[in-house]
């Protein structure tokens, strides 16, 4: 959507307008939250959940400290992302294994969510983990659903239990447990027919199956593209059946998958696995942090925040600011900044992530990581004294530094000049912002 293509830009603009440091102000939060709200809604997170989430997070963010390395807007997003990840739950891709085999798993959901394929995928995964699964064809309604499960089972070399489409699914489920006991299958996966959560008869059928076989897991299979209605579906299934977990399908599409948050929020049950393709091994564990940033759709901003957070040493920054203020910046500081930058990844990537920067502006800036290595070598070849005061670098000193670093005297000259320019620039910036602090370690 149009909103989406430019979300990152819009966010960056919002961030640019936000100024001031110290604590997050109400205004900072409100501006950033507007964007977050839009992002969540466009990702199909349920409206009510969005409203509540924004309210809760705003309260938490209000008055919290802004990290030195972030803009207030980024700080808000950071909090949002953390809360979102927390809300998505922990990584929990474990199946409850029954102490008395077989372990019985029931797959339930709407039509077309992908239950049959998921049954195959789950069986395949658990088979690899040493289980001996039995797939059970409990969908007697959809034409050729049984055949589909048989084809899937055959391709995975997993037995499929069926009694045709004339027997009550409750009886099929019961009989399948006997079959599993007889054939020493320690895992039973029951595929059930897709049904609407408001279809009382069919929902009751599931309740009866549950009563008859007491499954260890009842997993709701949910299409990741589901919209606002996901809450109604999940709540209904959960209320009537008592779900134990969720499997999200079709995440290989370009959906942002807000349904994940909706389902998680209304059921409180963990999302255990995700389907990521048409092949039977396209099945993965669920990672809440990845899902959170997918839903937020602010991957680039989040990466920047993460990197800044990881690599930025607040103490050093304070010292540096003081030095800049007092115009005491030396080549050691210069080197340190360079190194911090390098830790954050390729420079060109980093520059692209800075709010306000775009590829157009960067086109003429020739940034090369190899230049950095050179700079590093040159500075490290200098004596402490030279680093403190590059002014003392005369011809012979420069020659020594050049040969020590495997560079040339013009390289050394260029570096010294660059340093002087940076110092000058910082002095100007300092005056401009009246002693304000510097946003990024390298700006």
């Amino acid at each position: 959507m149009a909103v989406f293509e430019s979300l990152s830009d819009k966010l960056q603009n919002t961030f640019k307008q936000l100024t001031g440091r110290g604590k997050l102000s109400e205004k900072d939060i409100k501006e950033a939250m507007r964007e977050v709200k839009l992002a969540l809604l466009e990702a199909d997170v349920n409206f009510k959940i969005v409203k509540q989430f924004i309210k809760d997070v705003s309260e938490r963010a209000n008055g919290s400290e802004v990290m030195e390395s972030l803009t207030p807007g980024q700080q808000v997003i950071k909090i949002v992302n953390e809360e979102l990840t927390k809300l998505m739950g922990e990584t929990n891709s474990k199946i409850n294994i029954s102490s008395k085999p077989p372990t019985v798993i029931m797959l339930v959901g709407l039509q077309g969510a992908g239950k049959t394929t998921t049954g195959g995928k789950l069986g395949n995964l658990l088979k690899k983990q040493g289980k001996s699964p039995l797939l059970v064809a409990g969908d007697i309604y959809r034409p050729a659903a049984i055949k589909q499960l048989q084809v899937v089972g055959e391709s995975l070399d997993i037995p499929v239990f069926t009694m045709g489409d004339q027997i009550d699914p409750v009886d099929i489920a019961k009989a399948s447990i006997n079959q599993a006991n007889k054939n020493s299958n320690d895992l039973v996966i029951i595929d059930t027919a897709g049904r609407l959560h408001i279809d009382e008869n069919l929902m009751d059928e599931l309740v009866q199956i549950k009563k008859a076989i007491v499954p260890d897991e009842i997993l709701l299979v949910v299409d990741a593209m589901t919209g606002q209605d996901a809450v109604n579906v999940a709540e209904s299934f959960n209320q009537q059946l008592g779900l134990t977990g969720v499997i999200l399908t079709k995440l290989d599409g370009d959906t942002r998958g807000g349904a994940a948050l909706s389902v998680r929020a209304v059921t409180g049950k963990p999302i255990k696995f995700i389907g990521v393709g048409e092949k039977l091994n396209d099945f993965e564990e669920f990672y809440p942090d990845r899902m959170a940033s997918r839903i937020l759709g602010m991957g680039d901003v989040l990466t920047l925040i993460e990197k800044a957070q990881e690599n930025f040493d607040e103490e050093k920054a304070k010292k540096l600011q003081k030095k800049i203020k007092n115009q005491e910046l030396d080549l050691d500081d210069f080197l340190e900044q360079m190194q911090q930058m390098k830790n954050m990844g390729p420079i060109s990537d980093l520059m692209g992530m800075i709010p306000g920067m775009n590829n157009k502006a960067l086109k003429n800036v020739n940034l090369d990581d190899r230049d950095l290595i050179k700079v590093e070598a040159i500075i490290q070849s200098m004596t402490k004294k030279e680093r403190k005061n590059p002014g003392i670098l005369n011809g012979s000193r420069k020659k020594r530094v050049a040969s020590g670093s495997g560079t040339t005297v013009p390289d050394v000259n260029r570096l010294v000049k660059q340093f002087e320019q940076t110092k000058k620039m910082m002095k100007q910036m300092n005056q401009m912002s009246k002693g304000g602090k510097i946003k990024m370690p390298f700006m």
């Binding site: 077309g112 309604y141 050729a144 589909q148 209605d229």
Partner: protein, 305 residues
């Protein structure tokens, strides 16, 4: 925080069950004149129906203007105006209805996985047959396990022949066979199933492109209808689906399925807005009769119910 959110949500959802109109009605009754709160409630209703932010904003703007135009100030009058605005958004011109008369006709049915393509085909075939037309089905989904069998069951149900090859064969060649069979049997309508594919998979979309080439080359005399099947439960991704499929296929209409649930299918408003494809049919259940020609007014009424 998680717990409190869950608790609050449960309350919220209980409210949902009473329906949004009830809340709007309450506001309409409580307040004499139309105010921002009422408009915000309406905005919420639209978003909750999957209409999406962009289109919701547009609708609200149009609603404001229309209210001004018609000098409606009392909140009691807002519902009628809103209905008109929405119907205006998705109103269908006569010529964009499904044409049950022209023959020969070829109908290609496309869409992502699990939206209900095969089921819709069974229902569409039934409609044409009831209209006195001879129909043939082509099993173009050669990918998904037992998809061919599924179509054959539908063929049996409505007593229509199915042209098929085995699983894994080239879908374009199945469609080719279907066209040849339709020609030699002088069949009125050929309906082609295709494999569900996510719209962001380039190679699968290109495969579809090949199918269209075959149709163009082999059956130019047939009236062509390309129906994109969308699941009403789908959220904003439906817009991406419509956009991407439109790039490779000259989509002539949408079949909106699964409207018998609690999902409102509001995404089609955004699709009409941004991609301009009309909805032609709606699926309302599992039986063969549960497919209806789209009617804007009925749809809007359901959206607001």
């Amino acid at each position: 925080m998680i717990k409190s959110l869950f608790a609050k949500l449960t309350d919220g959802l209980n409210k949902t069950k009473h329906g949004f109109t009830e809340r709007i009605d309450q506001l309409i009754n409580n307040y004499g004149t139309i105010d921002e709160e009422l408009l915000e409630e309406i905005e919420e209703v639209l978003i909750t129906a999957d209409v999406g932010m962009n289109t919701t904003m547009k609708v609200i703007e149009e609603l404001r203007e229309e209210l001004k135009e018609r000098k409606v100030i009392e909140s009691i009058g807002i519902k009628e105006v809103l209905k008109d605005v929405l119907i205006n958004h998705i109103a269908l011109e006569e010529e964009s209805m499904v044409d049950y008369e022209t023959t020969p006709q070829i109908i290609l049915v496309i869409g992502v996985n699990g939206v209900g393509k095969t089921t819709s085909i069974g229902k569409i075939a039934n409609k044409f047959k009831k209209n006195g037309k001879s129909v043939l089905l082509a099993a173009g989904d050669t990918f998904r396990a037992a998809a061919i069998d599924q179509l054959k069951v539908w063929g049996n149900r409505v007593e229509i022949d199915v042209i098929a090859q085995q699983e894994g064969s080239d879908p374009a060649s199945v469609i080719y066979d279907g066209i040849q069979a339709a020609k030699s049997r002088k069949t009125d309508v050929l309906i082609c199933d295709t494999a569900g594919r996510l719209h962001n998979k380039k190679n699968l979309i290109m495969e579809l492109h090949k199918v269209f080439k075959i149709v163009e080359r082999e059956y130019p005399e047939a009236k062509r209808e390309v129906l994109l099947v969308l699941d009403a439960t789908t959220g904003q991704n439906a817009i991406n689906q419509a956009k991407n499929f439109k790039e490779v296929a000259d989509i002539t209409g949408i079949v909106l399925t699964k409207l018998d649930g609690t999902a409102k299918g509001g995404a089609i408003l955004a699709i009409k807005d941004e991609v301009d494809i009309p909805v032609k049919l709606v699926g309302l259940g599992e039986s063969v009769e549960d497919l209806e020609d789209f009617d804007g007014e009925t749809f809007v009424n359901a959206l607001l119910s």
